[in-house]
């Protein structure tokens, strides 16, 4: 089984994305953890399975979501940045609502060598497509696809 951690400010689309992922057909078990910020509560450390992929959700309509993701990144172990972290940027459908400037997002992706995926998670079709992409990435990060390793993602 594989575990994915979705981190994003409260009120974001993580919950719906998680549900979309659970609805997809797959041949392996997945665990989805949701958090609004890191670090995760230490009390449950011994119960938590190894996390294979961390996806940070940023809403460009809210500068706060970018700030909370930036603060959480400090608590991620270095080894995750070898392809096991990705950024999901939502809210890009409505140009006139953006509060975050794009350069900051690109910089984030470059600084942390992780792919930045733009997806309008409020639209169901794109949410389903993103869920499928994440599942595929999760499969690779968990080592379930022979010959393909997570290192490829840091080249995206």
């Amino acid at each position: 089984s594989a575990t994915i951690l979705l981190v994003g400010a409260e009120g974001g689309p993580q919950q719906q994305l998680a549900e979309a992922m659970l609805c997809e057909k797959k041949d392996f078990n997945i665990n989805i953890h949701l958090a609004s910020s890191l670090p995760l509560p230490p009390e449950r450390d011994h119960l938590r399975p190894r996390i294979d992929l961390i996806a940070f959700v940023i809403d460009i309509k809210s500068k706060y979501s970018l700030k909370s993701v930036q603060a959480s990144l400090a608590y991620v172990d270095v080894r995750f940045f070898l392809g096991k972290v990705c950024f999901l940027v939502t809210g890009v459908g409505r140009v006139n609502n953006c509060s975050v400037e794009m350069n900051a997002i690109w910089k984030l992706g470059e600084d942390y060598c992780s792919p930045v995926i733009f997806c309008e998670l409020e639209l169901e079709g794109i949410r389903v497509a993103t869920a499928q992409r994440l599942l595929r990435m999760l499969q690779i990060c968990a080592g379930r696809v022979p010959g393909v390793s997570a290192l490829y993602f840091s080249l995206l």
Partner: protein
């Protein structure tokens, strides 16, 4: 390695400086390329114009790394001419270039537009209150509203109602005004083919029905396209910062920011008013290069305001949507509504709005 590298080497290039939030503490990844600047999208050109990145067809939130502060017009040459523009609410539109528009034929255009409006009224489409003699159209040029000689002169269209109550006086009540202008539209003017006039910004004050009629006449006659110009919260923060940086003589109004809180069953608006001297003092500590503003400075400025608010009210304003900015210079609403309050900075504000209009057209 990363440190405060930004300012020294990269000069005014805002994108080279570290993020406003600071580098995260525990991250041991200091990769080689971590501080390299981004591709062209953020780099300011010599005049601080918006450089369009190759990434998106529209500017989703690509704002320039830096902009020039609006110049203060020292000459008091006829502030009367533009005085009528102040203290009115103008709705913003972006207009694609006009084909075969000549500023010498304004009288003919006014006549044709008058005929068109009369025809529309016959059809029963115009909202006509009490004018029996009909609507008179006046078109004139506003040559003082331009950034440089390269910009086409602004064009003003005014609709007045002729009332038959006092035919001797021929009093006319101004019912609708709209004006096209272009201030420092170098980007668009460079690549303009023959016969096209570029007046990308259109400001309207008056009834929506007349706006529709005048707009459709222009669209039919000059093959152009009008679109509402909305202002994103990101651009509103730029305006807040830029207008705070402007020096004003007299006592000005407080700076007021209006936020709308999303995801609530009942809509909630938060209004945050700051004393103009305090906010100017704050801005003075943030801004480094006189005459130029970078994205970093805007971010830091807004962050200071947000954290002050959070300290007192425990509300994260950065999670809300900024919808309106009011300063002593002008006030802007995200639906594309602007109000000019100072004639000295009129050109400066128009320069920014022209830039936004151009980026919406392209």
């Amino acid at each position: 390695m990363a440190g405060g590298a930004g300012r020294g080497g990269a000069g005014a290039d805002g994108t080279g400086v570290q993020m406003a939030g600071g580098r995260p503490a525990g991250s041991a990844i200091e990769m080689e390329g971590a501080m390299r600047t981004l591709p062209s999208s953020g780099r300011p050109s010599g005049t601080g114009r918006l450089s369009r990145g190759p990434l998106f067809g529209r500017n989703y939130g690509l704002s320039p790394g830096s902009r020039l502060l609006p110049p203060r017009c020292q000459e008091d040459a006829d502030p009367q001419k533009t005085a009528f523009l102040l203290r009115k609410q103008w709705t913003l539109y972006s207009v694609s270039p006009l084909y075969k528009f000549s500023s010498a034929d304004l009288k003919d255009y006014a006549r044709m537009l008058g005929v068109f409006i009369a025809a529309e009224k016959q059809k029963g489409l115009a909202v006509d209150v009490d004018g029996e003699l009909g609507v008179r159209v006046a078109m004139s040029g506003l040559p003082e509203l331009r950034g440089s000689e390269q910009d086409p002169a602004a064009v003003l269209v005014q609709l007045s109602l002729r009332s038959s109550l006092s035919p001797k006086n021929s009093e006319e009540k101004l019912i609708w005004s709209g004006w096209f202008c272009c201030v420092a539209g170098d980007d668009l003017l460079e690549n303009l083919p023959e016969n096209f006039t570029c007046l990308p910004l259109f400001l309207v004050n008056g009834a929506e029905s007349y706006t529709a009629i005048v707009g459709s006449w222009f669209q039919k006659t000059f093959d152009c396209c009008f679109r509402r110009l909305a202002i994103s919260p990101l651009n509103l923060t730029w305006m807040a910062a830029m207008w705070t940086g402007c020096k004003v003589d007299k006592n000005t109004a407080a700076m007021e920011l209006l936020f709308s809180v999303p995801h609530l069953p009942q809509p909630l608006d938060i209004s945050y008013a700051i004393h103009p001297e305090d906010v100017k003092a704050l801005w003075d500590t943030v801004q480094k290069t006189p005459g130029e503003i970078t994205q970093e400075e805007v971010d830091v400025f807004m962050e200071c305001l947000y954290s002050h608010f959070h300290r007192h009210f425990k509300i994260h304003l950065s999670a809300t949507k900024l919808v309106k900015v009011s300063t002593g210079i002008a006030s802007a609403h995200c639906d594309g509504i602007i109000k000019f309050l100072q004639s000295q900075y009129l050109i400066g504000v128009l320069m920014l709005l022209t830039e936004l209009a151009i980026s919406q057209i392209q």
